[in-house]
């Protein structure tokens, strides 16, 4: 054992009990986006579902920028005015943001829903895929803070010949075939047409129809073939065999076979877990692996999902938001043979979230104590206030991970920003002010988006890894990292931007380190190579360019 490694393990115990706090920095940030769903009383189902937020570094200046997906007019489904534009805000690295939507050429078309960020062409600049009701869009980042629409060129218009474009809710990037290029998964919802939409009522008048009223859709997966082209492998991969009502999607290697698997939350039907069988084939094993249903055995209205190790046992778990009375499910991955077990009750989430309706969700270590906490972006459906006894706009919530698989709602002490209600939807997680504490950007229907900066006092130390490989130092997707620090449980995290509901979060792999002064990190690169380092300088983003797998990856 090297001396540095030894030192990591003889440091003082790192017990930490910081109160997670957020402050609302929206006003001083200059972000003035309002998510417009086009609602005019017609009770169209699409109104409920927008919209996503992406946190990504558009110009590699080291500051996380923000993109907001926006709705459109109804029933035209077109962005009939600037109020419906998608918006891009450049982080000026001084606490303020500038709206560069027009200059960047990202105002978009159609009714947008979700957004997923990745450098799909390996040119060093992060691109955007926007999932929508009547259009999907791939926007290539030219590297000069402008984007070009490459949807058609890439083959991602989103529908098979002769078929109507499916309503896409969310999308995510993963390296499904471990070839170094990010592939694209698109989560589709239901067959919907404003002209033939069913009319539903409750005693208060017109109301949104239940998803059972609509036929579901299969999901899609596109292989990144290089040269900016994608190949639709939805059918050949086995993904399209299953009809779902897709919402959030997230990726992790649940069975530890080295290949990323796909978890898709479905609305009011069982969830899907697509096991990556290699060679771009997927088996749907949600029921076999205990990931499709909670222990009550009934489908829930899953909205957002995150797929990470929540209990520091080095196996990715799943947490998801849902509707009031469902409770937000927490499925712990206990490994073979049964894999996932519902710990919603035992974790404290059942009692803590049963009265919430949640959309965005993120499992991040907000107090940097070495355990991932949970953030939920909440709002009930409109027009239910009379019945629920509470208004539809709701506060977000943060649950602290207290260890032993338990979570405690600490929202009431998390500052005024966590008490403010809104029709919250998408949530993107990133360290927007580079202070080492994870912040949140939230979209809110018909009200201003919110930038909540993490102001947790006495938060622990941290480390973030920027993993790249290959001659062109391209982004690596799905790489897994374990972090071991003195007196702390070993943590597992992975490279992904697909987090929560319709949204995309920063790509770094982060760890909270409590009071530890160093950490041993071990990276399992896609394809199986493993590299380890002792990091004695912490509280920084560590660029890590793979020496061992670089040659295998494409330029």
């Amino acid at each position: 054992m090297k001396i540095a490694h030894l030192l990591l393990f003889v440091s003082a115990p790192v017990c930490l009990l910081a109160q997670i706090r957020f402050g609302d920095a929206t006003a001083r940030s200059g972000i003035d986006f309002t998510l417009r769903n086009g609602a005019k009383g017609g009770m169209h189902l699409v109104e409920l579902m927008p919209g996503g937020v992406a946190a990504f570094d558009l110009d590699n200046d080291g500051c996380q920028d923000l993109f907001f997906a926006n709705g459109a007019a109804l029933p035209s489904l077109e962005k009939e005015g600037p109020e419906f534009w998608n918006r891009l805000y450049r982080n000026n690295c001084d606490g303020t943001f500038s709206d560069i939507t027009q200059k960047a050429g990202v105002a978009g078309t159609g009714y947008s829903m979700g957004v997923a960020a990745a450098d799909y062409d390996g040119d060093g600049y992060t691109d955007l895929f926007i999932a929508g009701v009547n259009r999907n869009q791939l926007l290539r980042n030219r590297g000069d803070r402008t984007f070009e629409d490459t949807t058609a060129k890439a083959g991602l218009a989103g529908h098979a010949p002769g078929h109507r474009k499916p309503w896409s809710i969310a999308a995510g990037w993963l390296d499904a075939d471990l070839d170094g290029r990010p592939d694209l998964f698109v989560s589709n919802y239901v067959s919907w047409d404003p002209a033939s939409e069913p009319k539903c009522r409750n005693s208060q008048g017109s109301f949104y129809c239940h998803p059972d009223q609509y036929r579901g859709l299969s999901h899609q997966i596109f292989r990144n073939a290089g040269s900016g082209k994608f190949v639709d492998l939805s059918a050949a991969s086995g993904i399209a065999k299953y009809t779902g009502k897709g919402m959030g999607v997230a990726f992790a290697d649940y069975d530890r076979d080295g290949r990323p698997d796909i978890f898709v939350g479905n609305d009011s039907m069982r969830n899907f877990l697509f096991r990556n069988a290699g060679d771009f084939r997927f088996d749907e094993v949600g029921l076999d692996a205990g990931a499709s249903l909670g222990e009550h055995g009934r489908p829930i209205a899953t909205m957002g999902v995150d797929f990470r190790d929540l209990d520091n046992d080095r196996r990715p778990d799943v947490v998801m938001t849902a509707m009031v009375n469902d409770a937000f499910l927490l499925l712990r991955n206990l490994g073979p043979p049964a894999f996932f077990e519902d710990f919603t009750i035992r974790s404290g989430l059942a009692a803590g979230t049963r009265q919430m309706t949640g959309w965005g969700v993120g499992a991040y270590d907000f107090d940097n104590d070495g355990r991932k906490d949970l953030f939920f972006a909440n709002a009930h459906f409109p027009r239910l206030s009379l019945y629920l006894g509470v208004p539809a706009p709701q506060p977000a919530a943060v649950f602290r991970n207290t260890g032993q698989g338990r979570f405690e709602n600490v929202s009431s002490a998390a500052g005024p920003a966590l008490q403010a209600s809104a029709h919250h939807r998408g949530a993107a997680f990133a360290d927007f002010n580079n202070d080492g504490r994870i912040d949140v950007a939230l979209s809110c229907i018909q009200s201003p988006a919110r930038l909540l900066l993490n102001e947790t006092p006495d938060a622990g130390g941290w480390i973030a890894l920027d993993l790249r490989a290959g001659p062109s130092r391209r982004e690596v997707w799905g790489a897994e990292v374990t972090a071991t620090a003195a007196g702390m449980e070993t943590q597992l995290n992975q490279v992904t931007t697909s987090v929560g509901y319709t949204s995309s979060s920063e790509r770094f792999v982060r760890f909270g380190l409590g009071r530890a002064r160093g950490v041993r990190v071990e990276v399992a690169w896609p394809g199986g190579a493993v590299e380890a380092r002792e990091l004695t300088t912490i509280n920084k983003i560590v660029p890590w360019h793979s020496r061992s797998v670089g040659a295998k990856l494409p330029h």
């Binding site: 998803p211 036929r215 579901g216 299953y242 039907m269 055995g297 009750i345 059942a350 049963r354 019945y387």
Partner: protein
Amino acid sequence: MFFPLFALILHGSQGLEAEADRSYEAEEYAVALEGYRRTLEKAPDSLHALRRFADCAIRLKRLDHADQTLRRAAALQPSDREVRRLSVRALLLSGETGQAEQVLSGLLKSDAEDAESWRLYGILLYSLGYHRTALAAFERALKGKPGEPEIRAYRASCLLQLGDSAAAEKEFESLAESKALHARRYEETRADFEIAHAQLRYERGQWEQALQRLDAAAALRPGWPAELFWRARVLLATGRVSEAQAAAERAVEAAPEAMPARSLLIRIYRLTGQSGKAAALAQWIREREQRRANEGRP
């Protein structure tokens, strides 16, 4: 079913009605129903007999009988509050919650202190999963019907769903100790409350107490799939896997179309190495969900 012949011979319709009333008070609803039916043959405009006939029919789940009688009663006395409340009960039983809510809205608008209407409104909201407003409705109902055990049990169930398990526990314990819910008229709902109480114990990891509540539910409704499913959950949590498997398999036999017990059985089979059985059950749910997803409008 026997209805005293002497009542008919000696007292005519009044005697019949009085005898039916005695059966009703004794909670012999089938006998009472027959008594009121005969009463109405003699006195078709007896509002009291019409109400009571409908009440008995609802308790016995003979909704077609109740519906006809309530129409007759409403024609006789359109504003009669009891007839309207009986209509609500019938509507709730048949799942017509929208209509039930409309009638209740009128009743509560004209008398905001109507405890029985608040009780029914609470049940309506509870059935729809609106536990906060249901709790408020039950608390209004208790003002007019202090200590009424069924309302208290509903209130406790609401508290549990709202996350106040301490208050729910206190109420459930008090109800269990007093045996206040043991009257025959509560038999139908008592089993539901025993399950709710079992859920509370389960959520607290109090397995033996949960099983006691489930035993009580099973005594009221032997072979009830919901009880068997909960029993399987509790047994699995305590590590009594083979007993859990038996209970879950009985639940599937009792309700072959229900998913919860099948889902639980998949886990049990996987844990016990019965992968073939697990795969078959998973395939059953997969196909069912696929069919369900393909329904609805294209």
